[in-house]
Symmetry: C2
Amino acid sequence: MEDLRQSFCSCLYYSANAFSRLLTKMGDEEFAITGLATSYGFLLLTLGKQEGQNPSSIAHTMQLTPSTVTRLVEKLENKGFVRRESAGRNTQVFLTEKGEAHLPVVQKAWSNLYQRYTELLGEEWSKNMTGELFQAAQTLEEEGTSV
Amino acid sequence: MEDLRQSFCSCLYYSANAFSRLLTKMGDEEFAITGLATSYGFLLLTLGKQEGQNPSSIAHTMQLTPSTVTRLVEKLENKGFVRRESAGRNTQVFLTEKGEAHLPVVQKAWSNLYQRYTELLGEEWSKNMTGELFQAAQTLEEEGTSV
DNA sequence: TTAAAATACTTGCATGTACAAGCAACAAAA
DNA sequence: TTTTGTTGCTTGTACATGCAAGTATTTTAA
């Protein structure tokens, strides 16, 4: 019975997906204290690091499509955490005061998440894995753009 | 500019997600020849290996929730690839003839997918990574159930 | 200077997935 | 034997995400 799962999961596609789903769940659990889903939290964090980013650069940073970023920003705007400033075809996204004030909680959630998975998976392992996956994602992305 | 992405992606959560999304995209591209999205193809493959599985065991194998499996099976049933047999509260899922006949294409798609990512990421790397991620997923899953 | 192409963002729509709640069947206890 | 709990599956609903197409602006070329 277990062997079926084994043989099935000898596919990178599935291991990666399953892992990602579990981590997503964990992320959402930890980010619950922020009242936001994980992606929204991360978006606030990036803005915390560098204000006034435009959607496309956010999309690049977070490895999401621009349309997804639009959706994230919209929702954060509705909640009053960010504000958009458009000039011509360009748009910049800024934290509002409320957004700024919310940063500490988000950071806390982030570090909780970090601690939780490093505790389970090991700090060394996690670091290596993060690097490997980041690198691999870049490799795949390049292929994608060249096709 | 790149450093923001770097620092951001020093989070396992995001590397894993980004990687998984890219692989999903790749999977869908390869499974396009089957007329199905990747998960549906994999479901047919598991049934090919062992007929008459019940939804919950499929869910376990594919690391999905039962409700998701219901949805997958429903759709495959509508397309005529599988059929359900219920006895009491238990259900078994079988391949139809059409489903059986479709297996080779699905297998082809699977091996194409395998070849494509191993070519890009290396066979050794992929194998290791698959194992690591599978193992890690199991670790996380155990924690999840114990909480 | 006007027409064409490229860019930046947004919207319509589709999809895979999960959670929570429901329902039906079975098991255990009274 | 009735009641109570448990299990297995399905439905309602919600959501993150992507693709394709749309709109508006800027750049390039004629």
